[in-house]
């Protein structure tokens, strides 16, 4: 499969990098990672683990100090000294990697839902009729089409975030990066956003990078990447990652409740698998045990 996003030994620091690298505080240190087209990747990490910096490196908002980030084969570094050329280059990258942020209020630009969704394609210089089509399609894809004439401030948090996602979809990106996009929402809003993203992945084959600190949101991903202090410390399927409950707790993360439950059960000597991810799997394992 094709690589859409590739981190090649990337380091980044918010401070000035001095000669003495041992004293520099890196937000991201020597990260190498590649994300393939169509993958659903959850990036987990505690506060200060570098996961937000990771997100900003994905589409050239931040540019790595060492190493490089490749989007679809293009480096996020400026290709030349010419400003217009640089602009075209970075627009190509940002068009491919759409980003949804944490606070829905701070990423909606226009006063009407459909006008906000049109903002991205308008910036790209897309033909008006085509924009109309894309706006309708994107709003339908996130289930907000009926709200196209509404004012964003009258919507709930989850709805606003779905509008923000539609705004990104309208640019027709190849990869969707969600930087803690559920952190400010209530449980219902969180579910709405999770289901929307899931649907985009399943139906449209969208590549999703989901940055979060909620374990339950990571369970449904194809792949989980755990970050701590700027390093990638684990990378694998949810089952592989959540088995290491001890290590996850060390870096300030929890394991999903179902997993924790089965781990505790196996500790007292019961024969249950320790890689159950959700309640259903847990129930299955337990009923199998009871039948024995």
């Amino acid at each position: 499969m094709e690589e859409i996003l590739k981190f090649d030994n990337v380091s980044f620091s918010y401070d000035e990098i001095t000669e003495d690298t041992s004293r520099t505080e890196y937000a991201i240190r020597n990260v190498s990672l590649s994300i393939k087209t169509g993958e659903y990747v959850a990036v987990l990490g505690h506060n200060g683990s570098g996961k937000s910096t990771f997100a900003k490196l994905c589409n050239g908002i931040l540019v790595p100090d060492e190493g490089q980030v490749l989007v679809n084969g293009l480096s996020t570094h400026n290709p030349s000294d010419d400003e217009t050329e640089n602009l075209e280059h970075i627009m190509k990258i940002r068009k491919d990697v759409g980003m949804v942020f944490q606070n829905p209020d701070n990423q909606i630009v226009a006063t009407i839902v459909e006008e906000d969704v049109a903002f991205g394609p308008e910036n790209l210089g897309v033909d008006p009729l085509e924009i109309r089509k894309r706006v309708d399609e994107s709003l339908k894809a996130v289930g907000m089409y009926e709200y196209r004439g509404h004012e964003p401030h009258k919507l709930s948090g989850g709805q606003k975030q779905r509008v923000a996602i539609a705004g990104i979809l309208a640019m027709q990106p190849r990869c969707l990066v969600l930087d803690e996009s559920t952190a400010m929402l209530d449980p219902r809003g969180r579910r709405e956003v999770m289901n929307t993203v899931r649907k985009l992945h399943d139906d449209l084959g969208m590549t999703v990078v989901f940055i979060t600190h909620f374990m339950d949101e990571a369970v449904t991903a194809d792949r989980v990447v755990v970050m701590d202090k700027g390093h990638v410390i684990m990378d694998g399927t949810p089952k592989e990652v959540f088995k290491n409950a001890e290590r996850l707790r060390e870096v300030g993360l929890d394991v999903p409740q179902a997993t924790e439950f089965s781990i505790e059960l196996s500790k007292i000597g019961l024969n249950v698998p320790t890689d159950t991810l959700n309640t259903d799997e847990c129930v299955e394992a337990l009923s199998a045990l009871l039948e024995e």
Binding site: M91, R94, I108, E115, R132, I168
Partner: protein
Amino acid sequence: MMKDITIGQYFPGNSVIHRMDPRMKLVLTFLYIIVIFVCKNFYSLGAMVFALVLMVLFSQIPVKTILKSVKPIFIIIVFTAILNVLYTTNGTILFEWKFIHISTGGIYTAVFMVIRIISLVVASSLLTYTTSPTLITDAIERLLSPLKFMRNSVHTIAMMMTIALRFIPTLIEEFDKITSAQKARGADLETGTLVERAKALIPIFIPLFITSFRRAYELAYAMECRCYHGGEGRTRMKQMKLHGFDVVGLVFMVVVTAGVVSLNIVFPHLI
């Protein structure tokens, strides 16, 4: 309570007035405001009110909503009426007491002024009721775009207006939230002298400013992520095209203007 603020209140709809070219609406509203000041007598003013009523009917905006737009300026209307009654002394004197003289002339002028102000407000709110703020700022941008030498700043100003309008409700919400938070910490906002109360607002405005800066940074990031790079090479989803009914609107307004001017000539007096 503060959420009910009606700045740029837009009522989605599909009436002829809604579908009119925002540029045309903007120009016609300006024309209407100018013409209403040209009116010299009740006959011409009557023509203007008639025109306005027609426009309101065509817009399909409920009359109640239209009246709501007049509510905030009620005090101004009353004040203007009283001043005009007191200061105009021509015509027959109806009532006299010490320095107060109430004359028929005064009452006519007062009524005339009140109708004028109400029409003015209703006409401009008709524009904001039927046109989304983004479209209004868009229309301003396009109307000013022939000023080539300042084209980029025209786009920037229009974008600033859009963002400002977008953030008014958000900041009001934030203001309410901070006020509650400070009250919970024992801030006293309701009692004391005017100076004390003004001082009590400082702990509300400082957090409001700080969060606004943070919002500004985040919004800038989000806009960059959506490939915003100024006005150059930008297209618009909503194209502005002149339709048949835009021309009809223009002709209508021209006829009304001509009518007002001739009525002014035919009837030289207020009534």
